[in-house]
Symmetry: C2
Subunit: 213 residues, 2 copies
Amino acid sequence: MKIPKPTVKRLGLYYRCLSRYKEEGVNFVSSQDIAERLNIKPSQVRKDLSYFGNFGKRGLGYSVNKLLGEIAFIIGVNKEWNVAIIGAGNLGSALANYPGLLKHKFNVVAIFDNDREKVGKKIGGITVTHISDLKEMVQEKNIEIAVIAVPESAAQYVAEQVEDSGVKGIVNFSPIKLRVNIPVEDVDITLSFETLAYTIIMGDNAFILEDDE
Amino acid sequence: MKIPKPTVKRLGLYYRCLSRYKEEGVNFVSSQDIAERLNIKPSQVRKDLSYFGNFGKRGLGYSVNKLLGEIAFIIGVNKEWNVAIIGAGNLGSALANYPGLLKHKFNVVAIFDNDREKVGKKIGGITVTHISDLKEMVQEKNIEIAVIAVPESAAQYVAEQVEDSGVKGIVNFSPIKLRVNIPVEDVDITLSFETLAYTIIMGDNAFILEDDE
């Protein structure tokens, strides 16, 4: 089963929305309910959820519990992931302390840097390790995800070391496209500012509201 | 002219890719050249650029200079933007020191917090101001963009204060959907981890490679 990337991104949003419904004691929701809470179109919700089989019952809507279980399985939140942060600067420190990660079962278990001044210091309860110990730590702590939070100039070199260490995937905060053979998810902070700038300039005419796949 | 949101996101990537070509002294590029550097499909590049008129010359490709100018105008990088960061914690500090923002003409001119312990301290050369002075500072410093980097529980309240202050748009790092009437661009860090987790689990079958509009 292949799922369009924008759908996968929305699954995370559906998961949180449904979790809140569950907390509120709601057992069934309509695509309209979900769409309204998330500010998207009901047809988009129906299309996205149709990839996962027919959970909706005519008249009743979707079972909150069933849908939560399915989405959790698909986006991998049923599993815990051990995460290493590469780069103990401001961004790396912010991520090590980011409560949202732990909440979603992404456990930061190691922080690396090449600066001997930083090695040995504690950030968010974790001692900074020298980058030369990466491979050893990845094996020892069963690290599957690495976060690249180093300066742009070091990003590609670090990514290659990460790939070599046996890590399965990278969340990349540097603005460059990494050339590696493991999955990379880019978090491009500047792009978000540029998109907002465009929206401000264009006003209501900025975007076509349409299903994006 | 209405442009699909995924296209706008890619315009920022095209802009950087073309800037590098310019530095290398290249005058004309093909959609294939751009696509290869960015790891996307040439048909996607052609489709995206077709929104902006016909820049390509058969056989010659696109004029690097012309395209740079057009994209810069559209995504608003020709203009400088004054930015305020709300929240002087780890994330706010990381953003205040993030070199990519200044490079793209987003100037962080103010940092706000409600913690009297933090007010008066300097982060990245900027003195932290109490949030109660937000409206005054926005007018005084001509701030158009605010970054929300506060805990989830405070995000909606802060967003309303930001809207009231006259700021034109928000870059939101909190995981909640803000209910305001100015444009909001969400940067959901946890979603990136979830998307990566899904990609790792699904392997090569993870995504349909297709134009997304």
